[in-house]
Amino acid sequence: MRNLAILVGLFVVLGALPVFIQSDVWLNSLIMILFVALLGQAWNILAGYGGQFSFGHAAFFGTGAYGVAVLQVQLGLSPWIGLVVGVAAAGLVAAFIGAVSFRYGLRGSYFALVTLAFAEVLRILSNSVPFTGAGVGILIPLEPGLAHLQFTSKAGYYWLIWAMALAAFLAAWWLNNSRFGARLMAVRDNEDAARALGVSAFRIKLGGIVLSGCFSGLAGVFYAQYYLYLDPGIAYGPAISVESLLVPIVGGIGTLFGPLLGAVTLHILSEITRDIFGDAPGISLAIYGAVLIVIVLFLPRGLAGLGRISARRLLSRRSA
């Protein structure tokens, strides 16, 4: 319950920010942070709580993005409908990939690699299929207005991503406090034991991946509406898959706030390196990569682990 209070309080503060922040740059940064936190939490649901690491979350992201884009551009439907359809389509893709993978007992690196392959397959397909615009991509017409799920001010987009992220974080909290979540984590910790206790591992994992995929798809819908342009590389390319896993691992996998911590940290890191080393091509990214390695080497449990480790150390010293 305390976590819920912290979560809600945090999001209330976040929600109020645009009232005080006029700067477009800061708002953009916050939007990016929440966007990446959403991606990360979606991945975290499957990996942290479900124990299944995916390298291909772009498969769900891209489906959500193309869903909302195609429905608007090719079928002339409202992006609000597109949002629902996009998320549902992402969920279906997740269900398919999950069903196939779990049915054949794929776990660990095998599961990770198969998700990678599926994302690539989708990228190749979307490059060849006319309704996604093939290689040319899809350009969503610029028409600010709530009906078109576009906003004239950054604040509008901020609240959109804020709402989406809130939904994802609430879902993660719910996993910590529900029977489904408990079962999911039981399967994560010891699938055979869970099965022995009567849990249908297959159905639970399937539920996990669908939930995870839906939120990734939601992020995709946001991306499409914010940038108004998609192509197969943007939608299904490895960049999004990498971003999705980077953030929760750095922040603390399997924790509620890990994805947000990771998102903030990585964003600040990339901003600082770009600001200090910005002009020479490559240096800022090289330093970003180096700091990443350092973080992993010294904080094996991610940033969220910091608190836990010190608490434990503190306690063990006291009892010694």
Partner: protein, 290 residues
């Protein structure tokens, strides 16, 4: 329907291209088979090796085939040091951390290359770059034929290393049973580093044989990573013969896929195989540990 007449040349071309892919995958399969690391930095290390070949050629006039004496050793050293002092430090922790470390490494290596080498495309021209070997009605570029035999030789050398040497025995022991290996006195950290080093040394060989047919830019590694993973999975993680055969199969699949489905869509054949193998035969064609 493509012309029957080009079917055979296309298959032969696929075989020679596949041999190049196999060279890249050989190192990866060793690394995965022994250390169980999905080495995300494999592509950038290949790129580094290609730059090595380029600078040897341009700076010292050492041709890519002469560089075969130097590059594998240099890359071995790079790999050994990386595993011993960077990747190995994260290995006692969790799988996902190793993943992040290799990912971080690939970002560092690629972007340092952008900074130091700039992004223009570099090539090494050899007098025989345009020579072809006529075989069964197909024109096979000479560099690729050489690469084909190079891949065979490398796989054979690795097999000999694994089965006939002390080091090979130690590596196999560690791959199978790490704790037990440590108990009988094997220096596991050293063996890990040697394995990683050998895996990256293979990239040195691959780079020498690939350079005459290709080019190098800081981003060149990306094009080979997924294919290498597919081959490793297809052949069986840890099996060299598997990587070789897997490479040849993937090369042919890519060729035929390109012919029948178009070069862009045809790439799907590779990933379809990837998925099917993972689902139905995850240990791969010749799957067994090293």
């Amino acid at each position: 329907m493509p012309d029957i007449a080009i079917l055979l040349p296309s298959v032969l071309n696929g075989i020679t291209t596949g041999a190049l892919y196999a060279l890249v995958a050989l190192g990866l399969t060793l690394i995965y088979g022994v250390l169980h690391i999905i080495n995300f930095a494999h592509g950038s290390l290949l790129m580094l090796a290609l730059y090595g070949v380029y600078f040897l050629a341009v700076g010292l006039g050492v041709g890519p085939y002469q560089a075969l004496v130097l590059m594998p050793i240099a890359m071995f050293a790079v790999g050994y040091l990386l595993q011993r002092f960077v990747i190995g430090k994260a290995s006692h922790a969790r799988d996902e951390n190793i993943l992040l470390v290799t990912l971080g490494l690939s970002i560092v290596i690629e972007n340092l290359a952008v900074y130091f080498f700039r992004s223009d495309t570099r090539i090494v021209d050899t007098p025989w770059s345009f020579e072809v070997v006529e075989f069964l009605g197909a024109f096979l570029p000479l560099p690729k034929v050489i690469a084909f035999f190079g891949a065979l030789a490398t796989a054979a050398a690795l097999w000999v290393l694994m089965t006939r040497t002390e080091l090979g025995r130690a590596i196999r022991a560690v791959a199978k049973e790490r704790k037990g290996a440590r108990l009988v006195g094997i220096d596991v950290e050293h063996v890990y580093a040697m394995s990683f080093g050998i895996g990256i040394g293979c990239l040195g060989i691959a780079a020498c044989l690939l350079m005459p047919s290709y080019y190098v830019t800081p981003q060149v590694g990306h094009g080979f990573v997924l294919i290498a993973f597919t081959i490793v999975v297809l052949g069986g993680m840890g099996s060299f013969v598997g990587a070789l055969i897997g490479g040849l199969i993937i090369g042919v699949v890519e060729s035929l896929g390109g012919l029948f489905l178009g070069e862009s869509l045809g790439q799907i054949g590779i990933f379809a195989i990837f998925i099917l193998i993972l689902l139905f035969r995850p240990t791969g064609l010749l799957g067994h540990k090293v």
